[in-house]
């Protein structure tokens, strides 16, 4: 490869981008807690972020409201058939049901097999024991009753006091209290709230991942692509990061993006496109060749992280 002595004009920008990427990867690594199973294999569990948890919480609270309204409306509908006494009974029954929804919604779902409320499930979260042991019902109960204290108590007091015009500093104090508890997960590395602390639990991000077809196996036109051959020098241009980007491009992007990427790769490695070959065929063949090349090097202990990694 012929490298120019003077750095290319966008070298500074590229360097910055690379450093940003490395920082992002490091931050991502910080979220990983490895859990050694009794078989001695390490599972990498990812701690969920504060925003994920907050989103799940909002979802759950909204869902609770929906359930409560559904209860009230359906009971009102039934009670509508009776006289005034019917309404009183209806209100009492609704209150009892709402009591259960309000207090046992989180506990019911988290004790369940998926160890997650619907909101958490929607965002791919689940509750797990911090030590990797089994999640006990007691831990779930403890972490959820503490939520009352962390969030609902200060909130309700805030609402009931604000109206009556109690001393302003009390409200401020409550607001600070609320803030400390709500923002507590931001200030520790495991993103634990007080309830997690007491119960010895953590919330992990473990979404279901579908096993997709191996790109290297999807060879649409084997006869025509078999003509495409790359030299080792051409394959040495890129590293693992670029391979992964290429994988994402192949799995989920528009034909225009694929064409652009194909052109840039061809440019960079100095490859002359043959007549009649499609961008997709080129990219897939290149992906397979690059992966094979990098995997082979990896077996010999050389991990080429990205295109700047000159090994």
């Amino acid at each position: 490869m012929t490298e120019a002595v003077a750095p290319p004009p966008n070298a500074v920008a590229e360097g910055k981008r690379r450093r940003a990427r490395m920082r992002a990867r490091e931050a991502e690594q910080k979220r990983v807690r490895s859990l050694v199973t009794p078989e001695g294999a390490a599972l990498n569990l990812k701690i969920s972020t504060f925003s994920e948890r907050f989103g799940a919480f909002i979802l759950d609270v909204s869902l609770q409201f929906v359930i409560m309204f559904a209860i009230i409306f359906s009971i009102a509908f039934i009670a509508g058939a009776f006289d005034f006494n019917g309404w009183q009974i209806a209100w009492a029954v609704a209150q009892v049901l709402i009591f259960f929804v309000r207090n046992f919604y989180f506990i019911f779902f988290e004790i369940g097999r998926k160890a997650a409320t619907p909101g958490k499930r929607a965002l791919g979260l689940r509750v797990a024991d911090r030590k990797g042991g089994r999640l006990t019902a007691n831990a779930v109960i403890a972490r959820n009753f503490l939520r009352e204290l962390e969030f609902f108590l200060p909130l309700s007091v805030l609402f009931s006091f604000g109206a009556e015009g109690v001393a302003g500093w009390v409200n401020w104090l409550l607001l600070i209290w609320c803030g400390i508890f709500v923002l507590f997960p931001l200030f520790n590395k495991d993103k634990l709230r007080i309830g997690d602390l007491v119960a010895g639990t953590m919330v992990i991000h473990a979404p279901k991942v579908q096993l997709l077809d191996d790109i290297a196996s999807a060879t649409p036109a084997r006869e025509s692509t078999s003509a495409i051959v790359f030299t080792p020098a051409q394959l040495d241009v890129y590293g693992i990061h670029e391979l992964h980007v290429l994988e994402d491009v192949l799995r989920q992007s528009t034909p225009e993006i694929k064409r652009n990427v194909a052109n840039r790769i061809a440019d960079k490695i100095g490859y002359a496109p043959q007549t009649g070959e499609t961008d997709l065929a080129f990219l897939e063949t290149f992906y397979a060749a690059l992966r094979r090349h990098l995997e082979q090097r990896m077996l010999f202990g050389q991990r080429k992280e990205d295109k700047y990694d000159q090994r």
């Binding site: 859990l35 199973t37 009794p38 078989e39 294999a41 390490a42 599972l43 990498n44 006494n85 009183q88 009974i89 209100w91 009492a92 029954v93 209150q95 009892v96 009591f99 207090n103 004790i111 369940g112 097999r113 998926k114 160890a115 797990a128 089994r134 999640l135 006990t136 019902a137 007691n138 831990a139 109960i141 403890a142 009753f145 503490l146 009352e148 204290l149 007080i194 602390l197 007491v198 119960a199 010895g200 992990i204 473990a206 979404p207 279901k208 991942v209 096993l211 191996d214 290297a216 196996s217 391979l243 994988e247 994402d248 799995r251 397979a288 992966r291 094979r292 995997e295 990896m298 077996l299």
Partner: protein
Amino acid sequence: MSDRVMKSYRFREEREADWKQLEQIIARAESRGVGGLSDKDMERLPGLYRQAVSSLSVARTISLDQNVVAYLETLCARAYFFVYGTRSRMSERIAQFFARDWAAAVSAAKGPTLLAFLCLFGGALLAFFLTLNDNEWYWTFHSGWDSRNPNASYDELRATLYETDRKIVDMLGAFAAQLFSHNSGIAIFAFALGFAFGIPTAVLLIYNGVYLGSFYAVFWQKGLAYELTGWLFIHGVTELFAVILAGAAGFMIGGAVAFPGRKTRMQSMREAGEKAAMVIIGAVVTLFLAALLEGFGRQLINSDTVRYTIAGSSLIFWLGYFYLPRRGVGDRRD
């Protein structure tokens, strides 16, 4: 042709069917529980799980296919949580809780329970004597809207203790209101506030005791103590027991935080939290029963003797349930 086939591709091709099978079994188990698995599934599961875990370790070192590695990570995590997770069913667990775990947790926490008891009744006694000496104390503890105050007459006070018209609607209403009354809130907060060394828990308990004691003094002065006791304790035995248990749960956590011993504070809090949770969930159940007794029992039964009988038998029942030694049934726990 064979040149194109990579190690990582062959690796995947050989094992993919097994991974898929494991995924199916886990999905079935997650949606329908262990009961949803056939004998054949159960037989296959351990082998498939171990294979997936070892596949993951291999894939990390030889494969650069992001999707495969991510897939195996989550598959193994899900399988791990299932294989090493809880296996007992909800109904079994609930039965076990009432049969043994709850009583065991409560009787193991005699110290904190005694402390909570002293806080509650200490506060009550204090307020009782203060109010007996000087009625002004009553107003320190209560706000003005309650009609049951020292200025009320004997008849007015007596009227509040007995129900004349009994409608099922009112009972249901009283029951529901009771659920929402501050009791369950107090119980939960007495527990939740425990981690601040148990101090807020103590304050909460004493405050409730004071409230009760001054109230009692008002009736005592009018010579209604006997009637009030029946009115109060038909459900009060159960309810106060629950509040004391909640306080005890709070003290357990507070004590663990304040005096962790040789463990780290976190570890100690965590272990106490486990045990205290058992006590507190029981307290909530008890409060539910108390609400039933208060909503229906108190309205239906206007005879002092029957009220006392119920109060006494509930006391005997709870004491026996919690503290009578029972035959150990192994120590399986979930």
